[in-house]
């Protein structure tokens, strides 16, 4: 076991940095490039049953400390995605298939396909804040989440991770539902519902009016969610939200994350961010005499 290796719900990762869903995750070739850049694992764009164009532009607003996006879950659909997975799985690092759907049955049939394409795990997007009928519209209801996780667990053998939304006061109830339904890990957080307005144009900038806030602006929110989740459930947690440096990763791991995902930083810092984070983690481990990263998971819980 090399120093940075972590075990996430039975999946071996060479390092704890996964590519977050929705970022460079729509095509096999771009996923490959992220693996070459050093990511420990790859999460695909959230894939649905049918091809979807997503929302018309503008789909993204750039802010000093993050982005607001309302892509609208564009994607080629599960059938066409076979080809992309064939390429992505050549990367040698685990590819986690992210899925969106409205009902348990659709999640299950998507998951079966994803597993057959060679996905190392399934990530259920129960948290997109801007796609009507999908994402957080189902992910705020513990019962609905329980039904989805159960049916996907029945359908596949690979680990099933549920990606949760911070846009609710019921985060911990939802996480407990994932645990009760046999889910293997929690991913937190998806973006925070937000918007931007152009004063001169006197209108919202995003075509969809509202979207999801990501990047450094939401790191304190993601950290809080991971910290609270670590006390509420026993499942491993994947921390996401505003991670741009090894220090951010250490904060998330000390809050309780076993691994992390990096999204916006790919745009803000470039693909080199994976390698920079890993170098920083290795340095921190050496400086602090750590043998494995797992030693610090949850270390900030000091009651």
């Amino acid at each position: 076991m090399t120093a940075l290796e972590v075990d996430l719900a039975g999946i071996k990762l060479r390092n704890p940095t996964l590519l977050a869903s929705g970022v460079m995750g729509e095509t096999g070739d771009s996923l490959l490039r992220v693996a070459v850049a050093g990511a420990g694992g790859l999460v695909t764009k959230s894939i649905g049953l049918e091809p979807r164009k997503g929302y018309p532009n503008p789909t993204l607003v750039e802010l000093p400390d993050g982005y607001i996006n309302a892509m609208g879950l564009p994607g080629p659909g599960i059938e066409a995605f076979a080809e992309e997975m064939e390429i992505a799985t050549k990367s040698g690092v685990p590819v986690i298939g992210s899925l969106f759907a409205a009902i348990p049955e659709d999640f299950a049939s998507l998951a079966i396909k994803m597993e057959s394409y060679g996905a190392a795990a399934i990530e259920l997007n129960l948290s997109c804040p801007h796609a009507k009928g999908y994402g957080m519209e189902v992910g705020i209801d513990p019962d609905a989440v329980h039904a989805i996780v159960s049916s996907v667990k029945d359908a596949v053998r690979v680990p099933v991770m549920a990606k949760l939304t911070p846009n609710t006061h019921r985060l911990l109830d939802v996480a407990r539902a994932v645990e009760a339904a046999g889910g293997d890990a929690i991913v937190a957080i998806n973006t925070v519902k937000a918007m931007a307005i152009s004063v001169e144009a006197r209108r919202p900038i995003l075509h969809n009016t509202t979207g999801g806030l990501s990047g450094p602006a939401i790191k304190p929110i993601g950290l809080r969610c991971v910290y609270e989740l670590h006390e509420a459930v026993k499942l491993p947690i994947v921390g996401v939200g505003g991670i741009e440096s090894s220090r951010d990763v250490l904060e998330y791991m000390m809050a309780g994350a076993t691994a992390v995902q990096v999204g916006s930083a790919v745009g803000r810092r470039g693909l080199k961010v994976f390698r920079e984070i890993c170098d920083g983690l290795a340095e921190h481990m050496a400086a602090n005499g750590l043998n494995r990263l797992s030693e610090i998971v949850g270390a900030a819980h000091v009651h």
């Binding site: 771009s30 892509m71 209108r203």
Partner: protein, 256 residues
């Protein structure tokens, strides 16, 4: 960063081709692009056609967004994000710059950035005389500017690639810069290879985020908005999708 800009000048550059100047400058390098928001309509990628002093774009009407953009008046508002992407490498000594139609827009900023009339020659091509743009601007910045039209209505009759090919046979160049429809880029690359002149070509794909996140603009995994829009001949030669297929809004491959 997102900024709100107003149009200060609107120039008819050619038939269906409009140059819009903005009320604020942009720190950009030749060849870089911006995402242009037309409120209530769309947001589309555009090369900057002026970078020093004022910023401008030059728009060819092809569909709803470009038509709406071209119809804007002085004083009207657009949103701008960027500049995004890489820029032309202008260090090679003798440069041939080749622009097809509105592809002259990022080519022109390169020619002006060289800032040495004797180091850069220009080949301008279009289907017909109406779509030839920036000839005057080019003549101010280069000693050797030649023009071709497919139908012979102006300049030499023929494609701009044949014109560029002839110029490469006639003179020694250390680098070719090219921007135009993908089919033009494809043949220009071939001509450069035959003449053993390295090249840089500016490519286009569907752009949504502009910042390297969404992946909609990839060619063989390379993002036009980050690793591009300008790619070297070697990079392009290794691409499986160039000249053959592109991705649609859903990320599905479609034939070019």
């Amino acid at each position: 960063m997102f900024i709100e800009a107003r149009i200060t000048e609107r120039i008819r550059s050619g038939r269906g081709i409009t140059t819009l100047l903005f009320d604020r400058p942009m720190e950009a390098k030749a060849g870089q692009i911006v995402m242009v928001w037309i409120p209530g309509v769309d947001e589309i990628p555009m090369a900057l056609s002026h970078i020093s002093g004022v910023a401008s774009i030059t728009v060819k009407e092809v569909g709803q967004a470009t038509k709406a953009l071209s119809a804007l008046n002085v004083g009207d508002l657009v949103g701008l994000r960027g500049p995004y992407g890489n820029s032309w490498d202008l260090t090679p000594r003798r440069i041939l710059a080749v622009g097809g139609g509105v592809g002259m827009s990022p080519i022109m900023t390169a020619v002006e950035a060289v800032n040495d009339r004797s180091r850069v020659d220009v080949a301008i091509g279009a289907r017909d005389a109406g779509e030839i743009i920036f000839e005057e601007r080019a003549r101010k910045a280069s000693d050797d500017v030649r023009v071709s039209t497919d139908d012979g209505s102006y300049g030499i009759k023929g494609t701009v690639v044949s014109l560029a090919d002839a110029m490469m046979r006639e003179k020694r160049y250390d680098m070719v810069l090219g921007c135009g429809p993908e089919i033009m880029n494809k043949y220009l690359l071939k001509a450069c290879n035959e003449n053993k002149v390295p090249c840089q070509l500016s490519l286009e794909r569907i752009m949504k985020c502009g910042t390297g996140l969404c992946g909609s603009c990839v060619i063989d995994g390379l993002r036009v908005c980050v690793e591009g829009p300008i790619f070297t001949g070697e990079q392009i030669s290794r691409m499986t999708e160039f000249g053959k297929c592109k991705r649609d809004d859903a990320g599905l491959k479609v034939k070019i």
